[in-house]
């Protein structure tokens, strides 16, 4: 009986998890970010993002799991350009997840906001609900001009038309790291073993990724930075990405 009550309590608990197994988190230091977009191409290469073509771009149908948003401040001559990389925030209270009628997106034990492409039926509700607009829809089945398809990453599936997709924090790399950890008889992945493609490429090291459950992880230390904030925090989506503001001098 007590286990029943315990279980019921668990099922009634908001968010369900007591604690994430890993809490994958990213920090993005805007003071380092130069807007060079190396991360965008890295992501495109790693995650088989399609080459959509000029026509689709003109129609605003591009797919970029990570993009750089640009904001101007002031007017000439005191004009400033601010870059902010925008990718799936892997919100713990994600508005998109509840929207899906078929559980194609849900929150897993690693604190990741998942998207199971093969389950998606394409209602696109998640994209509407997402305040960060980081969910991208496959309006068409995209193809690669032969032989460009040879560079497709076999660890990531190629999505067909009618499917929503988004940043996965490079789940395939997390998977490989966990696999290696198991091979070494370690239960846990070490800090720095998982590096998503964008973080890996970032030439200014503005992006840091890791398990924020581990207080020793670099990302946990970065999160303590007083410059840290979360985008659109007032929406209470509790994102997993912490931005560090640009310093004014």
């Amino acid at each position: 009986m007590s286990t029943f009550v315990e279980k019921l309590r668990q099922y009634r608990k908001p968010g369900y998890y007591d604690k994430f197994d890993y809490h994958w988190t990213m920090t993005i230091d805007l003071d380092r970010c130069t807007g060079c977009e190396a991360c965008m191409v890295a992501c495109q290469a790693e995650n088989n993002l399609p080459i959509v073509g000029e026509k689709r771009f003109a129609e605003n149908r591009e797919i970029k799991w990570i993009r750089i948003e640009r904001y101007w401040e002031g007017e000439y001559p005191d004009v400033k350009m601010r870059f902010i990389p925008m990718l799936c925030q892997h919100c713990d209270d994600a508005p998109c997840e509840t929207a899906c009628p078929v559980f194609a997106t849900y929150h897993n034990q690693d604190g990741l906001n998942t998207q199971i492409y093969n389950r998606c039926i394409g209602t696109r509700t998640c994209a509407v609900y997402c305040p960060y607009e980081v969910r991208y829809f496959n309006w068409f089945t995209y193809t690669w001009d032969e032989p460009l398809e040879q560079q497709l990453n076999p660890d990531v599936t190629v999505r067909e038309k009618g499917v929503m997709e988004k940043c996965t924090f490079c789940i395939q790399r997390i998977r490989i790291a966990k696999d290696n950890a198991k091979d070494d008889d370690r239960r846990r992945v070490r800090d720095g073993e998982v590096v998503p493609a964008c973080v890996q490429s970032c030439p200014t090291e503005a992006l840091v990724f890791g398990n924020s459950n581990d207080p020793e992880a670099k990302v946990s230390k970065m999160m303590k930075n007083p410059r840290g904030y979360k985008v659109l925090e007032e929406l209470n989506t509790t994102p997993s990405i912490v931005y560090l503001t640009k310093v004014h001098s």
Binding site: G35, E54, F57
Partner: protein, 749 residues
Amino acid sequence: MSKISRRDLLQYIGAGGIGVVGGVLYGESVQQNVELLIPQVVPPEDYSPGVATWYNTVCNQCPAGCGISVRIREGKAKKIEGNPVHPVSQGRTCARGQAGLNALYNPDRIRTPLQNVGQRGSGNFEEISWDEALTTVGSRIGRLKIDNEASRVRLLCGRVRGHLDELFLQFMNLLGSDHYQQYDFTYPSALMAANKMSFGTDVLPYYDIRNAVFLLSFGADYLGTWISPVHHSLAYGHLRQGREGRRGKTIQIEPRMSLSGAAADEWIAARPGTEGLLALGIAHALVSEGHYHGSDRDEWSKALQAYSPSLVSAETEVSEDKILRLAREFGTSTASLAIAGGATAAGTNAVASIVAVNALNYLAGNLSQPGGIIFNPDPAFSATAGSRQAGFQGMLDLIGAMKAGDVDVLLVHDTNPVFALPDNVGFRQAMQNVPLIIALSSFRDETTEMADLILPTSTYLESWGDDVPDPGVGFPVASISQPVVATLYDTLPVGDIVLSLARQIGGELPIHMRWGTMEEFIKERWREEYDQRGSEGEEQEFEAFWQAALEAGVWGQPGAVAGDQPVPLSSSMIASIADPVSRFAGDESDYPFVLHPYLTATFFDGRGANLPWLQEMPDPMTSVVYGSWVELNPVTADELGIREGDVLDVESPAGSVRVPALIFPAIRPGVVAIPVGQGHAAYGRYARDRGVNPIHIVATLIDDQSGDLAWAATRVKLKLTGERLQIIKTDGVTRTLGRQILGPENDHA
């Protein structure tokens, strides 16, 4: 249900039969396609299916020479990342480096040797065999050699470093032609010349942005395109947030905000062409305000007398206060660094401007200091590649020779002068006078299209080679480039082609160039280097070294020598100070705007335009994809009644291009900017017939001292054509509208 008639029974059986057949057909239709399981005939040694392996090699997407690691699965390249042990890239890559895969797997690669069968430049090519191609070339060159006319053979290539350069040189020498030239639009000729004047060194110094505290950049887009962007970005990250409690500051001086301008704390749009003057103004203030304490203070103040901040302020339209403030900060910061590049190094005053900037560095006392300019030791090998840079003057000479009929055979490799030279120098027309043009190329760019014979080269990911990054990183480094995948098509690495040609030509060439392949050649050279450096030279040991070097992709002596180069005397520096104000082609009244062409972080000088990932990468500053645009200040646009998307005729004294307008808040009024990179007439499906090439309308003014093309010294006028064109960009509204996006302090509407 008493009796069923025979007729009924047949009907039931029929229905059942149809059902069964239908069921079987249904089963057949939902059956998965037959997938085959193809085993290897003989498995390679280190082959593991489903497991990735990494091979280190060198990136060739720009001349920075970053080390890269390529992820290989089942023999196919999947991902390019930085080589973590390589001192230039330190595990990082830029967008262009990543897009190298697009070059390897580009659908528009040349797959077999081709022979032109139509009119030259018409693009009618026919496939031929390697034998045929090499025989044709070999016999032609061989005949010239026998006739002692080998000097009528010319070799023009892009920026080639490492032992490939030596191979080319040897080939041409043995042939008896001293016409081996390199042409690279982005080669910093002015910087080299200025440094030679200021510091007396032929080797580019290492700019230690990483440890700088105050970085003053005169037009150098060090984060996007200048010299070694990935390395500078790493340094920039450290400058900003790498040191506890000490955030470096950067100032960018340029008429149109570049990526580095956006990153800077302050962006100053001085009058175009006066950046060098501004540097002198700052130098004047440095000395006169007493921030310089050297023994030669008086000499400096004398030399800088004419550049008082008030005078400079009037000329540059930068306020005197600002000049004084910059001087103070520059003079008092613990580690100040001034660099120059971009448009500053592309006026008629380029060398003078850079000399002025060098003077700033000298006055701040940062030469051979951490966070300043560190003089590189001699590179590991092949230090002379830069000296073969033709420069603009060299290209004019080549054109002259071609026009005069002095060139019989022109070998072109990895350079695209038809695209990267102004239209009115007539490179393309001059090519018509050359009887035989041979392109050693992977892609059919504009220059390759003009060839009679195309010998397809393998890409850098399929070839052997080595490289010495230029500039170095303060200590001698060499990287090995190795093929990471098997050659995709019937192509050969360029070194192998040269060796084959040598064999084909015969004579003493094959005797001296006895290596079968580039790999053999490189390995032998490395062995020689290894032996020279006083190692035991045992076979076994070199093999181990070679394997280790291959695995690491790089070999060097970290921290061996840094800054032990002599600091040049100030007298030579003082003597080289000249009035650095650029002239402009075109009269201000006829051509009211200064044209500011700029290299883009996406296409560099246009060589990236055939890579779909780069075409689809929004321009970092404007978010535009697929196409060109001309940037205008909002106020200017307002005055002229120009809206975004209005197609303008941008007319210079040298020509005109038709391009849509883009309103850009961070450009000086009176300046219009057009990105370089698009506007290809050939170069594959992704690049072809897209946008315009501003280099084509650049007037052929040259820098007074280096003779290089002053590509930022052209004036233009704008004409509304009445047409409109949608500029494809990913941005919506580029103001935060007071929303909490950029962080608590940064959000003001």
